[in-house]
């Protein structure tokens, strides 16, 4: 099987970019992560992850509009590349395959 080069946090960030669609930039991604996962992530960690993902070719970016609340600075807007998309799908396939292989007694029941 092909190895996917993603760490857990990178995977989550990549997914979040996908969730946000056209409006994915640093602050928005951090907020979304906060909301979806409930964990407090630092903006620098998000930037680092985005940077890494871009280096790996799973994200691409372009500079967007400048806004007043940003002190007149532009956003860097990220979107998932084909490679990123395929990697996400691969990971998901592996997970699904694993889930499917779990026998009903394999996991202790979790009461909701």
């Amino acid at each position: 099987m092909r190895r996917s080069y993603l760490g857990e946090f990178e995977e989550v960030v990549l997914l979040t970019v996908a969730v946000l669609g056209t409006g994915a930039y640093g602050v928005a991604i951090t907020d979304e992560l906060d909301r979806q996962t409930g964990r407090a992530v630092s903006i620098s960690a998000v930037h680092a992850a985005l940077h890494r993902l871009e280096e790996k070719g799973m994200l691409k970016s372009h500079l967007g509009e400048a806004t007043a609340e940003r002190g007149g600075r532009r956003k860097r807007l990220f979107s998932v590349t084909v490679l990123g998309s395929r990697t996400l799908h691969d990971i998901r396939a592996v997970r699904d395959q694993l889930w499917d292989s779990i026998s009903p007694q394999g996991l202790p029941a979790v009461s909701l």
Partner: protein, 860 residues
């Protein structure tokens, strides 16, 4: 509501460390979060959070700059272009490059040599591991004397058992050595006891330092002596014969002494060999022995000195304890302590050494000034280049880099030349400066580091200012017109630098003149006695036969037997005169002489009668004294002293005559009291006044006669004036150094002036042409071009004269007898500078004035 601002320092910090290509998005994100937080939680909280987030961005990922994708070859091409231009400029302006490189090379080599000298001087005796705890025991009894009686060492050992080492050393000087059948007359002969090698860490090549000097009749040689006697054979165990008296077995060989030690010896004979013969219980029997002690760690010398009076009282009684004290002189101070002038190696004052270092700085400064002057003056020529470079987008930083690079090229060239020059010069340091410096020192890390530092600071000193001036040109101005000098300013700076340079040169000239006249004063001033064509040598055996032979020698004009000539002093005695109310003892020199002494040396008898031959066993001695002695007794008129009674060395004497004071020591010291009396038992030295004709034959005859009487010995003689010159060896060294370095400073200054004037002449070519067309004479144009320098020189003189006077006067104070710095010296100094300046300036200005105006005005 005014817009809220994140903390400025954090923003600045971010902008500083963050990679530029990431900066904008990060700044934006942080700002956005800040604004939101400020709204939600208040500004204070938001500011804190902002700063915290900025700090968290400090990770390598965000620090790392984006690799520069601008194609590399361009840079190399640019560098190549810089290099090409630099080479072209140098070749185009050959004479300026030459002046710059020569000046810098001279300056750098002087600097390096002086640094080596400086290092050598300041590390005197530091090679000994125990140097900081080692002291020399000296006597202070009104006067300071570095050597003490041989009685002190054993007593010291008994009474100060806590001393780590107590070691006796005794410098004899000349000796005669016989190896097999061959006789040698050797200098630098010394004795030392078995503890000596434990006090001083010499470099032993053979033999055991612990045992080599313990037994009697053993000797340790230096490498060069061992090689001289035994060639490549092993010297250990061989025998040499000393002064026809002792057969010494070689028990060790050590490397020749380093240049930075106060000790001087080539032979070290075990003290046991002569201990019994020289042993003395008396405190005052001082014959040149040095005593070294090593204190245990943490014992202060003061504590030892405090116990000295009790120590002297216990061993030698109250009288001596009252008169004399022993001092502990730190080993590393010996080389600098000017109180002890009777040493084998004369001390050198630290001021002289620091003065020399100052000279080095001044010289390199002069060379840098040249560079700055020429570079700024020349900057105009290159204004077009700078303009074009700027127009094509060069940053100022790049231009500064380019100019500094050119400076580095020239300084580098100069450094290579300088190192070569230093290499060639080092063997001359011994004869010229009396300091032996080995060329191997050049590759020591410390020296390399300092040389590198000097070169680097030279580059910055010489290059920075011109680089900034040049890179500061406005391209539009530089390109628009044939700019003239004035539009760039810098003239005042250049004038100030020329003044500084003139001032330096003048200080050096005045210094050299003062040292020169003091040297002349030393050697040629009246000493109070005759010193021409007088040769002295040891009496040897059979004095009466020798006297007869000398009298029969037609080349001998006059001769005298004595204990010592006027310029030697070995014998000192206490004197007093209870009859005249002088009870306390004072010190006088004692010279035991024959009846011819006063007339041969032309001592001037002021009152009384000359010395007559008397019987040795007279209870009352007839003495002749000098003026200092009778003044000490309180007698003003010379005649009044005749017939007065004095006690010299305890015995009663009657003053029979008074002679004018004569200089028996170097002019460092005041003339002392002196007593002359007849005593044929002490006629150790013969002095002979030779007739000027056939000097060589006469000396040969004397040598033959003397050797016939003393077949076992080698005849050695010394001319009195040569002996006197030796007393000022230290000063002669200084004089040589001054002449050398002043010469270098003057040459550098002259080179700079020459370059500057020629540049100015070139720049004013048109002006000169027009003036000539309008009828100016050659003379008036020369004056026009030179006038300014006369002014600069005069201003420099006003600065230089007081400085030089102050420094040189301080130096002269070291001598009891010295010249006065008169106006003539300053006059000569300014004249010399004027002549040098006039010569360099006029050469170029006359050349410029003679140019045919048709040529200079033809082309635009």
């Amino acid at each position: 509501m005014k817009p809220q601002k994140p903390p400025q320092w954090a923003s600045r910090l971010l902008a500083w460390f963050c990679a530029p290509h990431l900066l904008e998005e990060i700044q934006g994100d942080l700002h956005e979060r800040f604004v939101r937080r400020a709204r939600l939680f208040g500004e204070r909280d938001a500011r804190w959070q902002y700063a915290w987030e900025v700090l968290k961005f400090m990770q390598p990922r965000f620090l790392k700059r984006k690799p520069d994708y601008s194609p590399k070859p361009q840079r190399i091409a640019m560098l190549r272009n810089y290099f090409t231009i630099a080479c072209r400029t140098i070749l185009q302006q050959k004479s300026y490059a030459f002046i710059n490189v020569m000046g810098l090379a001279l300056g750098l080599s002087a600097c390096i040599v002086i640094f080596l000298v400086f290092r050598n001087e300041l590390t005197y005796d530091a090679f000994n591991r125990k140097a900081d705890r080692t002291y020399r025991v000296t006597i202070s009894a009104g006067d300071y004397n570095p050597s003490v009686s041989f009685a002190i060492a054993p007593a010291f050992r008994t009474d100060f058992p806590e001393m780590e080492q107590v070691s006796q050393y005794y410098y004899q000087g000349e000796a005669q050595i016989q190896v097999d059948k061959q006789r040698y007359l050797e200098e630098s002969f010394a004795y030392a006891d078995g503890y000596f090698p434990q006090v001083f860490d010499f470099n032993w090549l053979a033999g055991d330092p612990k045992t080599a000097l313990q037994e009697p009749n053993t000797v340790v040689l230096t490498e060069s002596i061992a090689r001289k006697y035994f060639g490549d054979q092993d010297a250990l165990g061989k025998t040499i014969r000393l002064d026809n008296a002792y057969d010494l077995r070689v028990t060790g060989v050590m490397k020749d002494l380093p240049s930075n030690t106060h000790l001087v010896f080539n032979f070290l004979v075990s003290w046991e060999t002569v201990r019994k013969k020289l042993d003395t219980p008396h405190f005052w029997s001082i014959s040149g022995g040095y005593l070294y002690v090593v204190l245990p760690e943490k014992l202060l010398p003061k504590r030892v000195e405090a116990r000295i009076p009790a120590f002297i009282r216990k061993n030698w009684g109250d009288d001596i304890a009252k008169d004399a004290a022993l001092l502990l002189q730190p080993l590393r101070e010996i080389h600098f302590d000017k109180r002890y002038l009777t040493q084998i190696t004369m001390p050198r004052s630290k001021e002289t050494i620091y003065g020399l270092a100052g000279v080095a700085l001044v010289i390199i400064l002069t060379a840098c000034i040249n560079f700055v002057n020429l570079a700024t003056a020349q900057a105009v020529r290159r204004s077009k280049e700078v303009g074009i470079r700027k127009a094509l987008g060069a940053f100022r930083r790049q231009l500064v880099g380019q100019m500094l690079g050119e400076t580095t090229l020239l300084v580098g060239l100069a450094t290579v030349l300088a190192l070569g020059a230093v290499w060639a010069f080092l063997p001359l340091t011994k004869p010229l400066l009396n300091i032996g410096i080995d060329a191997s020192q050049l590759v020591e890390p410390q020296v390399i580091a300092v040389v590198f530092g000097v070169v680097l600071s030279t580059i910055l000193l010489a290059g920075l200012y011109p680089a900034f001036v040049q890179s500061g040109f406005q391209p539009i101005k530089a390109l628009r017109s044939r700019s003239t000098e004035a539009s760039f300013g810098g003239m005042t700076v250049r004038k100030a630098l020329v003044i500084l340079q003139f001032a330096i040169t003048q200080v050096m000239i005045i210094g050299t003149l003062v040292v020169a006249s003091q040297m002349d004063f030393f050697q040629n001033q009246d000493m109070g006695f005759e010193k021409e064509a007088i040769v002295s040598f040891p009496t040897g055996a059979k004095a009466d036969v020798l006297r007869q032979k000398l009298q029969d020698n037609p080349g001998v004009q006059q001769l005298s037997f004595a204990s010592a000539g006027p310029a030697f002093n070995f014998n000192f005695m206490p004197f007093a005169s209870p009859e005249l109310g002088m009870v306390e003892n004072d010190v006088t020199e004692l010279k035991l002489v024959d009846e011819n002494y006063i007339s041969m040396y032309h001592l001037e008898l002021l009152a009384g009668e000359p010395i007559i031959k008397t019987a040795e066993d007279d209870t009352i001695r007839n003495v002749i004294v000098n003026q200092t002695l009778i003044r000490r007794l309180g007698i003003q008129k010379d005649e009044d002293a005749i017939g007065k009674r004095v006690r010299v060395g305890g015995g009663p004497s009657i003053i029979r005559g008074v002679v004018r004071d004569f200089q028996s020591e170097s002019k460092h010291k005041k003339i002392r009291a002196c007593v002359l009396t007849y005593n044929s038992r002490a006629f150790w030295q013969v002095s002979v006044k030779l007739r000027p004709q056939n000097l060589r034959e006469t000396l040969a005859t004397i040598e033959k006669d003397w050797t016939d009487l003393n077949p076992e010995s080698i005849f050695r003689y010394e001319f009195v004036d040569e002996h006197i010159a030796k007393l000022y060896k230290q000063e002669e060294t200084l004089y040589n150094a001054f002449r050398l370095f002043a010469g270098i400073a003057i040459v550098i200054g002259g080179l700079g002036l020459f370059g500057l004037v020629s540049l100015m002449a070139v720049q004013r070519t048109k002006e000169v042409g027009i003036r000539k067309v309008l009828g100016a004479s050659v003379g008036s144009i020369v004056v026009l071009l030179s006038r300014e320098f006369v002014w600069l020189m005069l201003i420099a003189f006003v600065i230089a004269a007081p400085l030089a006077w102050y420094g040189m006067d301080a130096w002269l104070q070291e001598y009891a007898y010295h010249i006065q710095i008169g106006p003539s010296i300053f006059l000569v100094a300014i004249l010399v500078t004027f002549v040098i300046a006039a010569f360099t300036v006029s050469f170029q200005s006359i050349k410029a004035a003679l140019v045919n105006p048709v040529k200079s005005l033809r082309s635009e």
